[in-house]
Amino acid sequence: MRPSAVRLLNILVPVKRTVDYAVKIRVNPDQKGVDLNVKHSMNPFDEIAVEEAVRLREKLKGEVKSIKVVTIGPPKASETLRTALAMGADSAIHIEVPDSAPAPEPLSVAKALRAVIQKEKDNGGVDLVIMGKQAIDDDAGQTGQMLAGLMDWAQATFASKLVVDPKAKVADVTREIDGGLEEIKCRLPLVLTTDLRLNEPRYASLPNIMKAKKKPIQKLTPADLEVDLTPRLETLKVTEPPKRVGGGKVESVDELITKLKEAGITPVKS
């Protein structure tokens, strides 16, 4: 009996360069955006995604063939890729857009990723896409789902636990949902988006950072991928949330009911 062909996993990890989570952001005077002259780093959920890919390789050893990271961003985004390479990714793809270009929207990103995956068919294809559940600058939380839809692949979002069986081409994922935890079985290829409790990312150690300088970064433009990143949404206004106004105290239950009625809240007969 012939042994079944060993299927090696190719993992793609899209990452995004966002404003660092510890920075206090400020709305610009023109109220169209926030001040971007601040420290940027890799989106924390994407760090978790890179970490998960590296841990998969540590668990499955030779069954993971490659971990590729990809980003769409200005020239400075290559630093984010270098961090991912220092954490353990093998190679990177940088889809470069000019500094002045607006941030791409989830649908554009998903289309670009689809193009990248199709390009990777010659390199063995992609079996697993691990990405952050949302970016901390736009909090959209749409890209993973859109990508799965475009590719007609299985999707497991808000993952807090991942177990992959490459031979059976199946993954067991525990998802964080409103009601608690949901366990699902997914067929590969799969798009997985990470939630906070999936893992704690490692530090990129200095020796690894130095090694990462030698790892390859492939540069592409949106034109190479035949993808149009023009935004379809227009931001009308960005403002800070209204300052918190103090509450009031009431002396008795009757007064509470009066105040509720004044606010327009009517009782419902149970």
Partner: protein
């Protein structure tokens, strides 16, 4: 995560033992028993500031000129180059002109705002009026800049030239030779230790850079510089270094109030005539204004709070007016700066390395400018290092030529001219004596006097602090947001953060052999790493609280510009056996190290001199971009 480490009641323990997975207990990190990755470089520079980057760039320029290759590594504890840089600042381009003669033709340079006017004003509580200023301050040809931005720009240039710059990695310790008499390199910080010093899953030991030349460019009162000065006795025969604390804010002001290039220095209110200090207002490019003030850390009154002084300074009509209209505050920060001048410059070199920039202390107090000197000394050290590395001698490199070239350079002349200015403020005449003497010295004599005022008592800044019982508490006005805010609101503007579960980097420590022998700690195994003997036990902690609370009204709690230190009530403090919980008369010290903005105030000013500032995990600390 943590429940693993807490003792569990008997019942649960029994259940635990039936579990299939083993209980993993974290091990305590033992510095003498660790394998470190090691790498060889020619020059290792600690600190990617103006001095460090100038040295790096100069080394690469020499490489291009003379052809001999040289590997230069710069370690920077900030998350990015520029994250930990804070200064006024008005830059005298002298150092930059020598380092990069063509800098003006680079189209991305950030020196876009030349100084258009300079003046000095004296403040009283309600009024302010113009006063004559020392000619050193009136000098034009300078630029109003954000030093953080300029440093980031220098960092990019250094990287283009092939310097390996590693932000996010702190120089945690020096690697000493076997005999303890030379420095063989730098060791970076450990990552992944929890608060008790045990190794987490993410633990990685620090890396060792073996370098023939180590340049310490950590800025004022750097942690490794302090260690090198102590262990190689670089201060023998020199005056102790004295410091000031500079606090600043950057505001986007109403366009009608903005006068680009205007440079104003202030004296007087809110400081009294015994306390050295003064303020500034510099109008930067892009509608921004930087304002702040420096207070000499030899201030006597432990009730003084530099932060509250800054906030009330803004209540003065001059500032109220400046900051009125459509204005918003966009940055805040603080950093200690050197005030000792020429008398306090230590011996600059030790076997295997040297001190450059503010780590040695080249700030010109009369001009309050030090960046030009920092850059020039960086360049001088680079030239000395490059030549010294030429010799094929394998032993530790001797950089005495650097010290000689410093003495012959314009940095020395620059400092010589104003050497008597700051000490003249330390007489009983306080501010008036200082102004009178400095006026004559800077306007007429220009330092051409046969005398040099020395700090003959050798008193450090901390020793100048009087007991709380001898001083009056200061009544600070309440905050008036958004003009002036509470300290924690300001601290968020620094963007400071440190990963939570790591050892507290501010150590309450007493050295057992103060400045004497190079002691040894740990096992017999020699890894080229030697440390001194010190203790951080309960007694040290208790003594700290006793003196600081009992005699100095909890100075650190009032003085720290990031509210790291708090003396809180705790009934169990007197009997506690763990250092963190120990205290005196119901009070103990809480160190909120996460807030730390790396200013070094505590290390300089704590009356008991038992706070040692050590580096936290790299990448933490403030995230300055426009300071």
């Amino acid at each position: 995560m943590l429940p693993r480490c807490r003792p569990r009641p008997a019942v649960t323990r029994l259940l635990r033992s039936l579990h299939s997975t083993p209980i993993c207990r974290r091990e305590l990190f033992d510095p003498s028993n660790v394998e470190r990755a090691s790498d060889d470089v020619d020059v290792c520079i600690v600190g990617a500031g103006p001095a460090g980057l100038s040295a790096a760039i100069r080394l690469k320029q020499l490489e291009q000129e003379k052809g001999r290759e040289i590997r230069v590594v710069v370690l920077e504890k900030g998350a990015e180059v520029g994250s930990h840089i804070l200064s006024g600042a008005v830059l005298e381009p002298r150092g930059l002109d020598e380092l990069l003669p063509d800098w003006k033709s680079r189209d991305d340079h950030p020196l876009t705002q030349p100084t258009t006017s300079t003046s000095m004003r004296f403040f009283t509580e309600k009024y302010d009026f113009r006063i004559p200023q020392p000619p050193q301050m009136a000098k034009m040809g300078t630029y109003v800049i954000s030093l953080s931005r300029v440093t980031a720009w220098l960092g990019a240039i250094a990287e283009e030239m092939g310097v390996e710059v590693y932000p996010g990695f702190a120089g945690a310790g020096l690697v000493y030779g076997q005999d303890g008499r030379s420095v063989l390199g730098v060791r970076t910080n450990e990552v992944g230790l929890d608060r008790q010093g045990r190794m987490k899953d993410s633990f990685e030991p620090g890396m060792e850079f073996r370098a023939r030349v180590t340049l310490l460019a950590e800025g004022a009162h750097g942690s490794l510089s302090k260690e090198a000065i102590r262990r190689f006795k670089l201060r023998d025969g020199r005056d102790p270094q004295t410091y000031g604390l500079g606090l600043k804010e950057v505001w986007r002001v109403d366009p009608s109030k903005h006068q680009p290039g205007k440079v104003v220095h202030t004296m007087g209110w809110p400081l009294d005539f015994h306390t050295y200090g003064g303020g500034w207002v510099y109008h930067m490019d892009e509608g921004l204004v930087t304002l702040g003030f420096v207070v000499g850390l030899d201030y006597a009154n432990p009730y003084l709070s530099p932060y509250r002084e800054l906030q009330r300074m803004k209540h003065h009509p001059y500032f109220r007016n400046l900051l009125s209209g459509d204005s918003s505050r966009i940055a805040y920060g603080a950093r200690v700066l050197n005030e000792g001048g020429l008398q306090s410059v230590p011996k600059l070199h030790f076997p295997g390395g040297a001190l450059i920039g503010c780590s040695a202390g080249f700030l010109n107090v009369a001009k309050i400018k030090g960046t030009h000197n920092a850059m020039k000394t960086g360049m001088l050290a680079a030239e000395a290092a490059y030549d010294a590395l030429d010799s094929s001698d394998d032993g530790p490199v001797d950089l005495s030529t650097y010290e000689e070239s410093f003495k012959k350079s314009w940095v020395y002349d620059d400092l010589y001219e104003v050497r008597n200015v700051r000490p003249s403020f330390n007489t009983g005449l306080g501010l008036w004596g200082g102004v009178a003497y400095s006026g004559i010295d800077t306007l007429l004599l220009k330092g051409r006097t046969p005398w040099t005022f020395r700090n003959t008592q050798g008193k450090s800044d901390a020793a100048h602090t009087k007991r709380a019982s001898e001083c009056k508490p200061i009544e600070y006005p309440p905050f008036e947001a958004p003009l002036s805010t509470d300290i924690l609101t300001s601290v968020t503007l620094t963007g400071t953060n440190h990963a939570e579960d790591q050892p507290v980097h501010l150590r309450v420590r007493r050295y057992l052999t103060p400045g004497e022998d190079v002691g040894r700690e740990g096992s017999e195994r020699e890894k080229g790493l030697r440390t001194e003997k010190w203790t951080e036990d309960v007694e040290v902690r208790r003594a700290h609280v006793k003196t600081n609370v009992g005699e100095y009204a909890g100075l650190l709690g009032r003085g720290c510009p990031a509210q790291v230190y708090e003396y809180v009530d705790d009934e169990g403090a007197d009997t506690a056996t763990e250092p963190e919980k120990a205290g005196w008369q119901g009070k103990r010290l809480v160190i909120n190290s996460q807030n730390c903005i790396h200013c070094k105030f505590c290390d300089v000013k704590v009356p008991t001199q038992d706070i040692t500032w050590t580096v936290p995990e790299g990448g933490g600390g403030p995230k300055y971009t426009i300071t």
